[in-house]
């Protein structure tokens, strides 16, 4: 400890070394980062044009006034909430193997929250007036507007995760044992908070009495169930990449547990979906209109039919594959199952949930929607940016956990400025 400089200085060193490590890798890494940057640039440009020319660049209308952006937002919130399925076993059940890799779930949550925030920002007609939403300076319609609740819970979740991850990595970097007082309360808070982000996001939609397709008490539970499928599935993919691409030791235990969690959540998700559909189709009436359009088309219009049946097939196939014994092993089956449910839920919660809320319109006009090229570009850009920061953060986390990045090595890296 005698060589440890001032805390501020060592933190600066931590940041500088993080930046160094995050931009260091083999040719696969550089290619991956280059491609992601390129896609992010295309998205940024499409967004800039959209801001200049107006939302006319999208295919949204006064009939379908939310589209791909809000669809993607909803999925990303779920992804962020799904990370909690590593935190619960690691901290509530003291699963030590899970504890070693729980940071992957927390990093995914950070990247996913950034993606959901960006998805909302690109959906604003006047992003220049962003400051109107800042409490104190702007006019924050809290607690009346559900959107203000969402702003609070999403930003809160981002801060909690940034704190926990940042603190643990920094302590490890210093070679010190983390003080439980500084992170354990936040970990427990994050568990409640993870549930809240997806619940509040569901309340955004189900609180609207004028939209019968969303106006169901089952929406929040369904959101959570599907989040606990898509989140862990995404983590399984990330863990595989980390295991193959780095020296971080990853035991098979955590993945097995995640597959078990997915099995339960996927079954509950399908059960609730079935329950919802039964109520709609058996009772019929005006509530049925959106579901009818979604699954079978209406008034000679079938825009969402291919989407939703793809989602149904992908979710069913993914769920069945997860129940096979092969999914417990590190196998191709598990990989395919993960991809199936991720894409399936992305459609189910996005194009399959947000769009039919607007079709037919509140006065029963059927005006269809499919995303414009601008919307695809911007959404791809958001994903690329999210994966970019996820990769960079994972690089740093792996470097810290494999002791590639340590305070003592700082002297070797920057000999000119630091003297013991």
């Amino acid at each position: 400890m005698s060589t440890t400089p001032l805390p501020a200085l060592s933190y600066l060193r931590f940041l500088r070394q993080s930046l160094h490590v995050a931009t260091e890798g083999g040719w696969v890494f550089y290619t991956w980062m280059f491609v992601l940057t390129a896609v992010a640039l295309v998205g940024a440009n499409a967004w800039a044009v959209q801001v200049r020319d107006g939302m006319i660049r999208t295919n949204m209308t006064d009939h379908v006034s939310w589209g791909l952006y809000i669809a993607n937002f909803t999925f990303c919130v779920g992804l962020a909430a799904g990370g909690v399925m590593m935190v619960i076993p690691a901290y509530l059940y003291d699963d030590h193997e899970m504890h070693d890799v729980v940071i992957i779930g927390e990093l995914l949550a950070i990247a996913a929250i950034v993606m959901s925030t960006l998805s909302v920002v690109v959906d604003l007609g006047r992003p220049d007036r962003f400051w109107h939403m800042i409490p104190g300076i702007g006019k924050f319609n809290w607690p009346i507007s559900m959107l203000t609740w969402d702003i609070i819970v999403l930003n809160g979740y981002l801060l909690i995760n940034l704190h926990v991850v940042g603190y643990l990595l920094y302590m490890r970097f210093l070679g010190r044992k983390p003080n439980p007082i500084w992170y354990i309360p936040f970990v427990y808070l994050s568990i409640f908070w993870a549930i809240s982000i997806h619940t509040v996001t569901a309340f955004l939609y189900c609180g609207l009495g004028g939209r019968p397709f969303w106006n169901t008490a089952l929406l929040a539970p369904r959101f959570l169930a599907s989040a606990f499928v898509s989140g862990p599935a995404f983590i399984l993919l990330v863990m595989r990449v980390v295991r193959l691409g780095s020296d971080l030791p990853i035991q098979p235990g955590p993945s097995r547990l995640l597959v078990q969690i997915i099995r339960v959540a996927a079954a509950i998700n399908l059960l609730m979906l079935f329950s919802e559909l039964f109520t709609l189709f058996y009772a019929g009436g005006s509530h049925l209109a959106s579901a009818k359009y979604l699954f079978f088309g209406d008034h000679g219009k079938y825009g969402l039919v291919p989407w939703i049946w793809s989602a149904v097939v992908l979710n069913l196939v993914g769920t069945v594959l997860f129940f096979t014994p092969a999914a417990i092993q590190r196998s191709k089956t598990r990989l395919v199952a993960c991809l199936c449910v991720i894409v399936g839920i992305w459609i189910e919660k996005g194009m399959g949930l947000i769009i039919p809320g607007f079709i037919p319109s509140t006065l029963h006009e059927v005006v269809e929607y499919s995303p414009s090229l601008t919307e695809w570009k911007v959404t791809a850009g958001i994903w690329a940016f999210g994966l970019l920061i996820l990769t960079a953060m994972l690089r740093v986390a792996v470097a810290v956990f494999t002791d590639e990045m340590k305070l003592t090595e700082a002297t070797e890296l920057t000999p000119a400025t630091e003297m013991p």
Partner: protein
Amino acid sequence: MSEKKPFSLPVVGEVDRRTTLKAGAATLGLAAWAAALKPMVEWASSLDRDEFFQKHYRELTREQLQVILHKLTFEARKETGKPVTVKDHKPIPGVVFAYALNLSICIGCRKCAEACHVENNHDRPSNQSYIRVFEMQKGGIDFEKGNTTYDRPVPGKDKYYMPVQCQQCENPPCVSACPIEATWQESDGIVVVDYNWCIGCRYCEAACPYHARRFNWTKPEVPPDEVNPNQSYLSNRIRPQGVMEKCTFCLHRTREGRMPACLEACPTGARVFGNILDPDSEIRWVLENKRVFVLKEELGTKPRFYYFFDK
């Protein structure tokens, strides 16, 4: 930061080569980001500094509001060459407006929608209007059998017509939805939007059960000679791009004691408008003597827009 290290290209040392490459990549990256976001810079230069810092309408002092109205008037005159005045019409104490529409005599001619289009300086290319007229099948009030795109002589056989505009709900879901109080209900019951405060998230549009709200997907285009010069801050002044708008019961007319443009345009006299607090008003007579109904009563929005049949 390691990128900022001095480097001399011809004699790059072993240790510094990577750093140099990274610095180069970072520079190129930043340049690429600047190029990608260039359209945004073009747009930002068209923005107005005072408007950016402008406070919410209800927090403006009388003087601040006067300055803003002057500026809006000046700009509108410069752009259109017409004697435009942008005023601020305050609600009249003791007045609560309500509207009633006689479905027995409405013939579905859409003159009201057209009058709204002209009066409220709506975007011309999209033929925007706050009123949608539904051609309905006799035998029920079923919007599923309704049609807004009918194109033939009216009234059609076995049809009746239902114009729908903002219902000026007493309990408006759009107002609760707004995260930044850019839309609110005034004391005369009219729900308004501060176009200079709205961020364009369109949550209110999703919340409205009557499809009454409209978004400015682009900058509204109105040929200068067609601009209605009698404008108001909260109603028919030409809206900015990217914000919400809605029917205001023509508050720039009705708060001056005149009738809404849609009522004046109606050739059959199907529309009745007035102050429900005035016991001698025509609207009170209709509400007291006709069997009126409101749309989607079960939602609890309490519309101030009533429909009735004569026979």
